[in-house]
Symmetry: C2
Subunit: 337 residues, 2 copies
DNA sequence: CTGATATGCGTTACCGGTAACCTCTATCAG
DNA sequence: CTGATAGAGGTTACCGGTAACGCATATCAG
């Protein structure tokens, strides 16, 4: 019965002063074993837990991490939240979740909510715009910051080498004998990934006389541009910016009755759940999202109040599934419907 | 520059007592307009925000909601979190996210984290086991509780009439002329949905001489049981417990080269993003998840400390897409491969 | 036996707000 | 002129912990 007991109640029940109870729960010295056990017994019996707010007030620490992001239900962000939450809970930290406005990406409001609650560290997630003033305020308050995937001026970045992701995709396609491939992306300024370009550059890195690449913009939820291009019949491989594009690509192939991977190989990026939901299952580049989330939480928990956590760029890894295969010998020319 | 100013600093700068600043920020009477404006000016100038912990300590209120759930990255739960977060932020509440152990569903630990932080209300999400003692402790502390989707003894429930969802699916299939349909579910005790049975009952409600239904268990990630049944060639419609099953069902159909919706109509449940990611897009029953999340947050924000929020059961709605169509005239017998 | 050093625990003040109560001044009816 | 009343603001104590410091009692070398 975790009722509204305070440290004073516990102290009284144990016949000691409150500070002694405090010492017991914080495993400080200067308490005899006998006293300690007696106090602990009372605590256990009543399942008492110290009030985190009171403790936070006097310690200037809240044992709380903040996560700020728009598009919290976006698959990628969800993975981050899950990993962060797991680490936080395991370390008796709580996770404060605040969203930015998904339409404007304006995040100052959310950031201030987190700051006024005195979180011990803030993790920045997906699409968000923070003003320099806000960032400076965090700096001044010594709140450790970390950004995952969305770069912020002056904030350490924990992410993946997306250029390398592009290279891995290109390498795989080239080795399978594909000679003309597409990089499909959506550069809508609100939803686009900051690493759209990096992936493209990596993908293009392997271009050469026997490996032609070109970029194609295809807005989420549409297939027209893509199918128009595929009709020309020369493309045998696709690498897309983000697994979010995959449903559109599969749909486009379906509309043209193109067999994946028989006639067209498809590679996604980020290795989200959708890769296993589609048939055939999609080869994708794993971007270490779980590791990133975990490391972010750990880094902030471990960083002392004044310190700066370190960023890190992980290496991506190709996960081969069913959507990629040898290039067809004679790519078919498609007829216009 | 939201530095570490306190109410005392602001008071001093404005030449008043701290309590006056307190009155200004809380819009209380007994402050002259002139004084109020002067104080407000100082506050604005320094972008000062009161320390939420200190305020919470003395008020016994934290302006924080807790969300407890396992499987935070589960699509359905994600929708809830997103909706709750939006309402919370809009009302200057924060959302504290805590996960239960996904393997054991044990949630007492998480619940205690939330309680010791004095959240103003707790929303219970997906699969979790709470001990009666823990629930009683919340009761005793007057913490308003609400459970979405996962029933808890004595806790008001905000959910959807899943029996009706089953009926809607059956109705749709029957009207399309299907006469022999399957209810596909996964009754794994850890992952299964508490409404598995309700949906089945609703689906069966419409069974009759011209509408035969049967239930089939098919674990997530597999297709063997399903394809074995489909090979008999008599099934022309499927309703599945949860959109999570859809990828398996589509894969099963693909393995047998069954055309959806030409030869087989498929209806999902919950109307998650996957319905639009698959081709053809899947007809599904919308379970009002956004409304549920929003209402939960609002209810808890509005419920005064001692009160009990009210539960509510929403009506589901069928969302027709591309995966359902008229029953084929002559269902084909499948040959064993 | 004395002074030095631990050991074990309590007292006091304080973290940053706010509720409850108090004081002072102005205004006004009788 | 007196007393009542309202308006504007301050004083004090407290929320539930903890840091800093203080003070017995025990132990032990010399």
């Amino acid at each position: 019965m975790t009722s509204n007991l305070t440290i004073k109640d516990i102290a009284e029940l144990a016949g000691v002063a409150p500070i002694t109870v405090s010492r017991v729960i914080n495993q400080k010295p200067d308490v005899s074993k006998a006293t300690s056990q007696r106090v602990q017994a009372i605590i256990d019996k009543h399942q008492w837990r110290p009030n985190v707010q009171a403790r936070g007030l006097v310690r200037g620490k809240t044992y709380t991490l903040g996560f700020l992001s728009s598009g919290i239900s976006t698959s990628f962000v969800t993975y981050l939240v899950e990993a962060i939450e797991r680490i936080a809970t395991a370390n008796n930290y709580a996770l404060l979740l605040v969203g930015a406005d998904p339409r404007t990406r304006e995040a100052d409001h959310g950031f201030e909510i987190l700051m006024s609650r005195g979180v011990d560290g803030i993790i920045l997630g997906g699409p968000l715009d923070l003003s320099a003033a806000t960032l400076a305020a965090a700096e001044e308050r010594n709140i450790p910051l970390l950004t995952l995937y969305w770069p912020q001026e002056g904030v350490p970045l924990l992410s993946v080498d997306y250029r390398e992701a592009g290279r891995l995709a290109a390498e795989h396609l080239r080795e399978l004998g594909h000679r003309r491939c597409l990089y499909v992306h959506d550069s809508n300024p609100l939803t686009c990934d900051p690493y759209t370009t990096a992936r493209w550059e990596g993908f293009r890195d392997l271009a050469g006389p026997d490996f032609h690449v070109e970029a194609l913009q295809q807005a989420y939820g549409g297939t027209a541009t893509l199918t128009a291009r595929l009709r020309q019949g020369d493309i045998t491989g696709i690498f897309c910016q983000n697994d979010r594009c995959l449903p559109d690509i599969y749909r486009g192939a379906w509309e043209l009755a193109i067999d994946v991977p028989g006639e067209l190989s498809v590679i996604g990026c980020n290795d989200q759940a959708i890769t296993r939901a589609l048939t055939p299952q999609v080869t994708s580049v794993d971007n270490a999202k779980h590791r990133i989330g975990e490391q972010a939480a750990l880094a902030l928990i471990r960083t002392p109040a004044g310190g700066r956590p370190r960023g890190k760029i992980y290496k991506p890894a190709l996960v081969i599934r069913e959507s990629t295969g040898p290039a067809p010998h004679h790519p078919k020319k498609r007829s216009t419907p």
